[in-house]
Amino acid sequence: MKLENEDALDNLIICQKCFTLHEEIPIKDGTKACCSECGAILYRYDSKLIDHGLALSLTGIVFFILANVFPLVQIEILGHEQFITIPKTIFSLFESGFYIVGLICAFLIFIFPLMIFTINMLLFTLLKIKRGEKLTKELLILLSHITPWSMTDIFLISILVALVKLIGYAQIHMGIAFWALMVFVLIDLYIVKRIHLSEIWMLRKRILLYEDKK
């Protein structure tokens, strides 16, 4: 295989699932390229990636705040009413002395999700105003390290499992935060599925090259 220089490597792509080598070809706006071996998505082309990313991450943050401020579920048990919020769940672990579990939960369901969306928002804003060559790089690296550690989707299912356990003992009312969390999880899944980090890296390169030429 012959290459002009090291930069020509950017035209190559290795499938993240099966590690097959592919050559990147231009594709139509809004379409995707798949691996010929395993069918995994290699990359997409979206000419409005920055706007889409910005809109999605902003909406995500709004719903994340809603999900943390309002009660998740309310129950009535033996004439008492109880409710929980996400911060309250974490704090109650600390109060009962479970510092390690509390810390792990705090990171998995609060700090990392919030960080991911904040980083996404910062990243797309910087790309939109075409600034921050160094910062975008650092943010992208950070993002790829913390993305596997966000577990809001698993927490959402856990809420349902916990509630099914309580059926028969208590009356259950879903709170606003539960629905907000559901929307947040859907947005999160959509971003993870639709926007690959390598696409943002390519976008960053394109924008920075454009700046260099000017």
Partner: protein
């Protein structure tokens, strides 16, 4: 013009950029992350995390996960005990979910990681009947779901907090959370490119 062998191209585990394998310590030309090439080092780290996770999984099964305080009496239930109790009460789907999340997935993940770690060092499973990349990818995807039980305990403990009835988390919750945490670390520390080298 550079002439290179296709096998010499490697993927940066952090940003996904294609790099040329220079056979010593590689750092990615796009994000600067280190791409390890020390065979022994990359599996040792993963082994260490995995063994920690397996040790933590023992108390996670022995100690109570959930303690119910009801009118002065205390009752603890272990991981397996909770599954059995739910099954006897007739909540089959939930019982199955908890069983899969907290027993099947962790144990499977231990076995898969042990198999992968051994297979990149010693010539086993070379017949390519199992797609090891797919196997690894599967463990990466299903692994985090074993956190379900920890979250459920946290939610119940926060929710049931009355004078007469209280649910508190048990020692196993800490052990289990640590176990899951280290299994995830072990999976991340495993260098996928080792699979390819030994094919």
């Amino acid at each position: 013009v550079i002439e290179i062998d296709e096998d010499k191209l490697i993927r940066c585990p952090v940003c996904g950029a294609v790099n040329i394998d220079k056979n010593k310590e590689n750092s990615c030309r796009r994000c600067g992350s280190k791409i390890y090439h020390h065979r022994s080092f990359s599996t040792e780290k993963s082994w260490a995390f995995l063994i920690t996770a397996m040790i933590a999984y023992i108390p996670a099964n022995l100690y109570p996960m959930l303690i119910t305080k009801q009118f002065g009496t205390e009752e603890g239930s272990t991981l397996l005990g909770g599954v059995v109790m739910l099954w006897e009460h007739g909540s089959y789907p939930i019982s199955m979910i908890i069983f899969v999340a907290s027993i099947l997935i962790p144990v499977l993940k231990f076995l898969v990681l042990i198999y992968l770690l051994i297979s990149v060092k010693y010539p086993i499973g070379k017949d390519k009947k199992v797609n090891k990349h797919k196997l690894y990818y599967m463990t990466e995807v299903i692994g985090p779901w074993s956190m379900i039980d920890v979250f459920v305990v946290a939610i119940l403990a926060a929710l049931i907090h009355l004078a007469n009835i209280q649910i508190i988390a048990g020692t196993a919750a800490t052990a289990f959370a640590i176990s899951v945490f280290f299994t995830l670390l072990a999976a991340h520390a495993f260098d996928e490119r080792l699979i390819k080298e030994y094919e």
